[in-house]
């Protein structure tokens, strides 16, 4: 057997960052003045997640770390180190929800998923995914793992991962932040032997008694014969140890997706106005439409529940005369329904549930031409990246620049502001060259000039007059004249 363990160490923080970013993307509308306050929240404020049960900081972002806050600090210490730190409450229930959502996301790609979530004070949240039975379908380890990591990247969470013969062993490696995909027993054994005992799930008492006989790392434990261990420790410990060595495979409860749709989102801040709920509800409707499309279903009734701190949960039932699935059809209904609604107090969380589904009409002819293909897309990108290299595929995205060189970026991670202010320009060429080439052909100008200065904060300021020129063969080029009156070709109009 081969299992991968995905250790999600900052789920609450991740969902907060994602929600805040999402909010910012929607906050371009001028009427939402208050949003600016929130939009800056994720990017440059120290944020820490605090567990009140243990009085410990459990998660914190990079800026908080820079301020000196570490995981394990108390609230007072954190506040003393950085008085303006933004504290988020830690909630096991919420983390479990997020983990379940992640499992729902992965379920179409991998069938055997185990949720590893224990309601304990310092619980470890993670997912275990069985891989050995999937390699056959994906055609090898690399495409499979690329597909999974792609889905994880889309979920936008930080995680450590590892793979090993059992969940227990993979978990130890993941907690050790191993972050490498292994599939041969020798490699796994080598990797395991370097792990300290403290990160295994053995109880402190057992670790203590092992330390007394001089066993302090997993390597020594793996080398010991089972009989010798059997005399010293109880049954549970032995079971764990044999699982760690890959000799037994303990029974696990596999994750099964719900029969109905249930999506719970913890809001990153309290919302007083129903209009401000829209971006979060839109996100949930998107999830719903993906869910329905993948199962070839429609629905005619959904429930939106708004949670508050004190007041009872508000239940909004929305019905539609025609069964439908898309965001565009459900969002206007939600907006109409909540237009005149007054929230009794600021909302803290929203949940979207859907219990009743309706089969899609099979008489409908466009079923095959309009089939949902999100998974096919992911598999395709995973396969292409596996063969051609990680940087071989990209989606061209609009960037914040009016210059042709910087108008398009190829990676979404290039900047958070990407895509917010897309410049639309009707003289953009189809293709640009990496570097402008000198113009050496006879051409005739058919459009221009358009003068573009570079931004003042760029090191080498340029002033260019752009033209569209046509060669004798009717090839249209984007040409420019620089300050020294030299002519260059920068792009093509196809």
């Amino acid at each position: 057997m081969l299992w991968a363990y995905i250790y999600c160490y900052q789920l609450t923080l991740d969902s907060h960052i994602k929600a805040a970013r999402n909010k910012r993307a929607h906050s371009q509308l001028p009427k939402h003045e208050t949003n600016n306050q929130y939009s800056s929240l994720a990017s440059n404020t120290p944020v820490a997640v605090y567990c009140s049960k243990t009085n410990k900081i459990t998660q914190c972002n990079d800026i908080a770390k820079k301020e000196g806050i570490e995981i394990g600090h108390g609230l007072a210490q954190a506040a003393a180190l950085c008085p303006y730190v933004h504290i988020l409450p830690f909630s096991e229930e919420a983390e479990k929800h997020m983990l379940t959502q992640l499992a729902h996301r992965l379920y179409p790609l991998a069938s055997d998923i185990v949720l590893d979530n224990h309601i304990q004070s310092d619980s470890v949240n993670g997912l275990a995914v069985r891989l050995d039975n999937l390699t056959h379908y994906y055609g090898g380890h690399t495409p499979l793992w690329k597909t999974l990591t792609q889905a994880l990247a889309e979920a936008d969470i930080r995680y450590h991962f590892a793979s090993a013969w059992t969940i227990e062993a993979a978990k130890v490696l993941a907690l050790h932040k191993f972050n490498t995909y292994l599939h041969t027993p020798d490699d796994i054994k080598k990797a395991l032997s370097s792990c300290p005992l403290s990160i295994t799930a053995l109880s402190p008492k057992v670790i203590d008694s092992l330390a007394r006989v001089g066993v302090s790392c997993v390597q020594q434990l793996l080398a010991m014969p089972v009989q010798e261990l059997g005399q010293r420790f109880d049954n549970n410990t032995i079971m764990y140890l044999t699982a760690l060595r890959g000799e037994t495979f303990p029974r696990v409860t596999l994750f099964r997706p719900l029969e109905h749709f249930d999506n719970f989102t913890l809001l990153p801040f309290d919302i007083e106005n129903t209009q401000h709920l829209t971006p979060f509800v839109t996100q949930q409707f998107e999830h719903l439409s993906h869910y329905l499309r993948a199962r070839n279903l429609y629905t005619s009734s959904i429930n939106v529940r708004i949670h508050f701190r004190e007041a009872p949960i508000m239940d909004i039932n929305i019905r539609s005369a025609l069964p439908q699935s898309s965001v565009q059809s459900w969002l206007p209904l939600f907006n109409l329904k909540t237009e005149n609604l007054e929230l009794p107090e600021p909302a803290t969380a929203i949940a979207l549930t859907c219990q009743q589904f309706e089969e899609m009409d099979t008489q409908n002819g466009d079923f095959f031409s309009d089939r949902f293909n999100d998974i096919a897309q992911k598999q395709l990108i995973g396969r292409l990246n596996a063969k051609l290299g990680d940087n071989s595929t990209f989606q061209p995205l609009a960037a914040d620049s009016h210059q042709f060189e910087y108008m398009t970026v190829t990676e979404s991670s290039a900047g958070d502001g990407t895509g917010n202010y897309a410049y639309s320009s009707d003289i953009t060429p189809t293709f640009t060259f990496d570097v402008p080439k000198p113009l050496i052909q006879a051409t005739q100008i058919c459009f221009g000039p358009v003068r573009l200065h570079s931004e003042w904060w760029h090191d080498s300021p340029t002033k260019r007059d752009y033209f569209i020129a046509q060669t004798e063969q009717c090839v249209r080029l984007l040409v420019f004249k620089d300050e020294e009156s030299r002519w260059w070709v920068q792009g093509l109009f196809c």
Binding site: F368, S369, D370, R371, F372, N373, A376, Q377, Q379, L380, I381, R383, L384, K387, L388, N391, S392, T393, F394, Q395, P396, L397, A398, A399, F404, M407, T408, T410, G419, A422, Y423, S424, S425, D426, I427, T428, P429, T430, F431, T432, F433, D434, C446, F447, G448, I468, Q470, Q473, C474, V475, R476, L477, G491, L492, F493, C494
Partner: protein, 250 residues
């Protein structure tokens, strides 16, 4: 004998030129003359080869085909001749999420990627730039495209056509080598094979081969794909008012 011929006639793979009616779906290009020559437009599935120089409006010509159908699926650009610009895509009518660019290092990789994309069922249209495909590769792409309800646009440089014409002339000289390459090139098992040639202000389309139809040369369409200074020129030539005003200054 008559009977045996009629049996042959019933074979579904035999097409007679007098059958103009087709059941296959066609995507209109939006140019009436060209659509008429193509019996309604470009077939919705299969491999289409376009031989042209890069930059004569060869992508904009297929604007309707690329943007207006199966919009929930991907449009993949494989091995494009430069960095694809997102504002241009937006002007064309494509959303960024709908577009995927694949960079490859060799011709073989491009063809492999194209086939994978066509087979994935996630793609509506695969736009591929390649220097040459042989008969076998073309057949593979054609089958992958037709079986998965997708369209593959293959852009090749125009040298092939020139080479073919010259070899046709050399045909009389019975150069068997050239004859063979000519055979394999013109006999690609694809849906549509066209060549584009830009003339000032117009675009000439040569249909070299089409399934269920006749080749047709020199279909001239007026095609605008870049902004031009027409508006300014027109305004200048029709502006009699400001001329007077200018004169009155002195």
């Amino acid at each position: 004998m008559n009977k045996s011929l009629s049996v042959l006639n019933n074979h579904p793979h035999i097409w007679r030129a007098r059958d103009q009616k087709q059941s296959e779906a066609k995507f209109s290009l939006g140019f009436p003359r060209l659509d008429k020559a193509l019996n309604g437009g470009v077939a919705s599935t299969g491999l289409v080869r376009i031989s042209s120089l890069t930059g004569v409006g060869e992508l904009s010509l297929f604007k309707r085909v690329i943007c207006q159908h199966r919009t929930h699926k991907l449009v993949v650009f494989i091995n494009p001749p430069g960095l694809l610009q997102s504002p241009w895509l937006e002007n064309l009518g494509l959303k960024a999420q709908q577009v995927l660019v694949v960079k490859t290092r060799s011709e073989q990789e491009s063809l492999w990627a194209a086939e994978q994309c066509l087979k994935s069922t996630a793609c509506h249209c695969v736009v591929l730039w390649s220097n040459a495909v042989n008969q076998k590769e073309a057949r593979r792409l054609q089958v992958a495209a037709t079986h998965n309800d997708a369209l593959c646009l293959l852009y090749t440089p125009p040298q092939q056509q020139a080479l073919q014409l010259s070899s046709q002339k050399a045909d009389l000289g019975s150069d068997s080598q050239a004859n063979l390459s000519n055979q394999s090139d013109s006999a690609l098992p694809i849906t549509l094979d066209i060549a584009l040639k830009g003339n000032p202000h117009v675009l000439a389309v040569n249909i070299r081969k089409q399934r269920h139809g006749w080749p047709k040369d020199n279909i001239v369409i007026s095609h605008r794909w870049t902004p031009d200074n027409q508006a300014i020129k027109w305004a200048m030539s029709h502006n009699t008012l400001s001329d007077q005003a200018l004169h009155s200054v002195s």
